[in-house]
Subunit: 69 residues, 12 copies
């Protein structure tokens, strides 16, 4: 295995359903334009509240992908 | 939009079901006595264990609401 | 109540289903060999991505248990 | 000097003008309802952007005040 | 045990005697106006110095209490 | 409101005048090439010193913008 | 002196008396089963409150000991 | 360019006017006794409040200067 | 010197040889597609282990480069 | 009150007796050579262990003192 | 691939030669008694100084290994 | 062993060769003017890049030395 280099970007996914879905939404959006996505890491979980209820979960995450040589 | 001021309080919600529900429980309890609740931010996720299983998820969160002028 | 001493260990649970399940998997594995497990605390949530989707949620957690005297 | 006890609350001030003004706005709003406000400490500086320009500076700050005995 | 919600406030206790006493002073002052106080957590230990000696220990702490339903 | 995804990038703005201007310079430069810029968050404030005076304020900031679907 | 390797474990000591005693209790319990204990490092100080008073100081600490070759 | 060594000291500047001025005041005081001052880095922004207004901005900063060989 | 704006990206370099080489590999890969690369900052050092030996050093680093006006 | 500038230094005090005494020892040593010492702030509490007991408490602390104009 | 559980332990390796060697020494010592060691992560790099020279590099690291089911 | 007091200073060493050499350079420079230097601790590793290559490793480190009584 050669000495790969990876890039890490920061995304915020949102979901009205769950914090896990906010992660999945961000990953699926990223995979439309990036190849070789490899791992993610949650940086922060937050959300908006409307009428006394959670309206959106928002998850800030780092996403790592391998750069082609 | 005028120069609003917000207050941020720290709550701990708990749930036997899921960490997302622990968040929702804290928000709904807070909305009984506070108006203009606007956002939340997870500070820590922890829980109690009984008989080798997760008995409660406990989520520490900050909750922000607008102060009336 | 006497002056108990607790030990805290660090585990990583994984799950293809949800981040809460990754926590539960780590706790249940730990309870096979440890008695008096008492609380957990999430250190980090991360995961692997395959084919543009979350393949595994991985949750790093601290788990505390009481030492026998 | 007796052994005073202080309370610390978290506020977010906003200003269209400057980050220092966001601090001043939060302090002045707090002083409407609290006596003996003594110090502040900046937790985070953030802001909203509209049309490619800073629309609001938002400063999260802790504010400490002495509790009456 | 139902799904309780707790509130966490930040206090600063001071003492001319010891850092543990600064904690005790803050807790005892808080218990005058709050019920169901449950735990504390030290955020920071600091103090004032006069004539080359520690004049006050000051301990910043978080104090958690259960909200009534 | 659909489940938006945002990207967060890190910039360093500099200014000979003030730390707020260093923020504004970074935002205005970013808005030349990015649409839907929404918020910023200060990561660090630093600067260069020449002849015993502040020559440049340098502000490291995160800037978030919505990705188009 | 050869190139030693040390292991670091995390313990929580508790004491009804003082935070220093909570440290001592954890160390003494650890020394029943471990040899070559060398240093400790406080990670967090917390405690339980009963009837408006500190019932237990709890100190989370890391304890380092040399592994035999 | 040879392998320089720098020293970093921590200062607190204060100003009744602005947080940027608190930085400038600390730098100018330091430059009275130190040569080769090169950069600063803000550690914390805080301040005193009197009569419900910001009386002083206080900025804790690290200041780096090159040591002569 | 005008008020430059810099962008900071996060990379992970890997090397079978040393942690410094992991840094160099990431920088050299980045310089294939970016101009004006100026500084780096190590965020984390980690690695993979195979057969009880370090197989790869992996260094997460931030890399800053000047944006053209 | 003019715009004072303070310097902050880092010390480690040790004591065979208690962590508070380790703080006092550091302050008293510092006051032999420094005037206008004003405050301290605990950075870390650690210690050495001998024969299964705490041999020394070691407290790392920052000490602030006003610079003369 | 099933839902594995990993354990993470903290070690300190030392070396008179280099910080990378301190890592390697800790890993090789750990592999004497543990199977399935998988990754490491540097927590802190420190060292002892004798006669004005680095006598030992000491690297605190976390080491992760898979638990057997 | 009496209750020693130590001072901790922050230095930045640089080296064109390696990050370990940047540490050694800082220690050796410090030992020209300080006695009883005892330990160091790495705060941050960074560097300058020229022509797409690492030009200097720069290591920020804390250095502790015993104060004479």
């Amino acid at each position: 295995m050669p000495d790969h280099v990876y890039k890490v970007i920061e995304l915020v996914g949102s979901s009205t359903t769950s914090s896990d879905d906010a992660i999945r939404n961000a990953i699926e959006r990223a995979s439309k334009t990036l190849k070789h996505i490899n791992w993610f890491q949650v940086v922060e979980t937050r959300g908006h509240i409307q009428d006394g209820k959670v309206a959106h979960f928002q998850v800030v995450l780092k996403v790592g992908f391998r750069l082609e040589d």
